[in-house]
């Protein structure tokens, strides 16, 4: 599959984005350098956005991150390593959209600090369970 513009994406603006994606994706594959494209800052009208979305399509990974501060929808496009992200606030208002060129988008990775805290919490819960178990013996 090629990222080169096809008949549906002959618009110059979309071609430029796709060319940038192709370059960044090749760079990711060869060097591991990740990149992001902020779609909010690009002046795209609905037809252009639709053309870009149609070209990128959807791959086989979809994820939703929902927390007290809002929600993020993530899916991989038809092109491995090219991800679409949409961030919403707690009122479900769209804050921004971006394209991440990465093996996994940052926001999906567990944070080392969170993992350390989780390990400590799990250890404490296990210790408590063990204590309760002994008390019930």
């Amino acid at each position: 599959m090629s990222l080169a513009p096809d008949k549906e994406t002959t618009d110059g603006f979309i071609q430029a984005i796709l060319a940038e994606l192709a370059t960044r994706l090749a760079e990711l594959a060869s060097t591991g350098i990740e990149a992001q494209i902020d779609l909010r800052s690009l002046p795209m009208d609905p037809p252009k956005r639709a053309a870009l979305d149609a070209k990128l399509g959807k791959g086989d990974v979809t994820a939703t991150i929902a927390d007290r501060a809002g929600r993020t929808e993530v899916f991989e496009t038809r092109y491995a390593g090219v991800w679409r992200l949409a961030h919403y606030d707690m009122h479900d208002t769209l804050l921004m959209e971006e394209i991440a060129i990465a093996p996994v988008p940052d926001i999906l990775r567990a944070d080392p600090t969170d993992m350390a805290e989780a390990a400590a919490r799990l250890g404490a819960e296990l210790a408590l369970d063990t204590k309760k178990g002994h008390a019930n013996d």
Binding site: E34, A35, Q36, I37, D38, R40, S41, I65, D67, R68, A69, G70, T72, L85, H87, D89, M90, H91, T93, L95, M96, E98, D106, I107, D111, T113, D114, E117
Partner: protein, 363 residues
């Protein structure tokens, strides 16, 4: 349970994940037109720092700047900023009053020397110090005292940045801006009547995350929010380019959304982010409602002639925009006068003079 030492620990305690912080950072880097690659660094910077002590001083103001920040569209993602800062003094919001309130300000200054941020709304009267006082102290004296050991001073609203409505001719109180009072501390101007909340929160988040002042324009305003004119980013701009103008507020052109230039819109000479960030959670903005831009983020907008006459007829020569370079020149002075390596010094280094405009301290 021990008190959280960093913003990251505090957020975790409140059940707000690092992923939520990353989302916030992605949004801030986007609205500030920073490279997306800085998102991770911003999130990490915020998580690793201590909550920033903020002292908010209100001078000759109407409280709209506070309203803009706290009640714009609550709760929004903006509100996360209140988890990142410790608002140690704000006359309208704090529970303490009288001597207890003033003691809170002095304690915050002592505990966070050279690392707290002062936000100021309202202009400062110099004509008669009694025009505006707090606890018997003149605004100018309190500002000088509080700013002396601040990391930075953020002047919010057109009163604090340029003098605003109180300074309008004939300026009965002798109102001046923050930059005409504060000499040795970096100043960031966030103008507007009121300023856009995202401009305030984004700037604070930038300072908190990177320990640096964002890039400023020649008037000391963050370029991220004041780098483009309203006209350049206006959705009605194509009508201007085609020569299609509304001639009155109820004519066919007005109904068709044509350019409001001939009805007095000041968009071509006004620099702000209303056209892109809009107001009330992105719902709308003045030009979208059918009214021309008043130019409220520019110096002395109140005295620039009729709001309803087209620009060539209404634009009078502006008074010398105060502080432009003074804002930055002050910062350079601050750098030279500090020996200790503090975050404040780093801030000063970031705000080098754009030009050499001078100001006069009337005190």
């Amino acid at each position: 349970m021990t008190e959280p030492q960093t913003v990251g620990e505090m957020l975790a305690r409140k059940g707000i994940s690092r992923r939520a912080l990353l989302r916030y950072a992605a949004w801030v880097t986007s609205i500030m037109a920073l490279p997306s690659s800085m998102t991770r660094a911003m999130a990490q910077g915020i998580a690793d720092t201590k909550r920033m002590s903020v002292i908010w001083l209100s001078c000759q103001e109407c409280t709209a700047c506070t309203e803009s920040l706290t009640r714009s569209y609550s709760p929004t993602i903006d509100d996360l900023i209140f988890d990142f800062i410790s608002l140690d003094y704000h006359e309208a919001l704090q529970a303490a009053a009288g001597h207890q309130a003033e003691e809170a300000r002095l304690k915050a200054m002592e505990d966070n020397k050279d690392n707290y941020v002062v936000i100021v709304d309202g202009s400062i009267p110099l004509g008669n110090m009694g025009y505006s006082t707090v606890a018997g102290h003149a605004n100018a004296d309190v500002l000088r005292e509080t700013a002396e050991h601040a990391l930075a001073v953020v002047a919010v609203g057109s009163c604090a940045t340029w003098g605003g409505l109180p300074k309008a001719d004939p300026n009965p109180t002798g109102a001046v801006s923050v930059s005409q009072i504060v000499r040795n501390t970096p100043i960031i101007n966030i103008s507007g009547c009121p300023p856009i909340p995202e401009a305030m929160t984004g700037t604070l988040a930038h300072v908190l995350a990177f320990g640096q002042i964002p890039e400023l324009d020649h008037l000391g305003r963050p370029r991220a929010f004041f780098g483009n004119s309203i006209h350049d980013r206006c959705y009605r701009r194509p009508f201007y380019d085609k020569g299609l103008f509304a001639k009155s507020f109820d004519d066919e052109g007005a109904r068709k959304g044509w350019c409001l230039y001939e009805l007095g819109c000041k968009g071509p000479v006004t620099y702000n982010a209303c056209a892109t960030l809009k107001w009330n959670g992105g719902a709308s903005w003045p030009v979208q409602t059918g009214h021309g831009c008043l130019g409220c983020s520019e110096p002395d907008f109140w005295d620039r002639g009729s709001f309803y006459k087209p620009l060539p007829a209404s634009t009078e020569p502006l008074a010398t925009p105060l502080a432009a370079g003074a804002v930055a020149g002050v910062a350079a002075g601050a750098l030279a006068s500090r020996a200790a390596k503090t975050r404040r010094e780093i801030l000063g280094a970031m705000s080098k003079p754009k030009d050499a405009a001078d100001t006069t301290d009337k005190t």
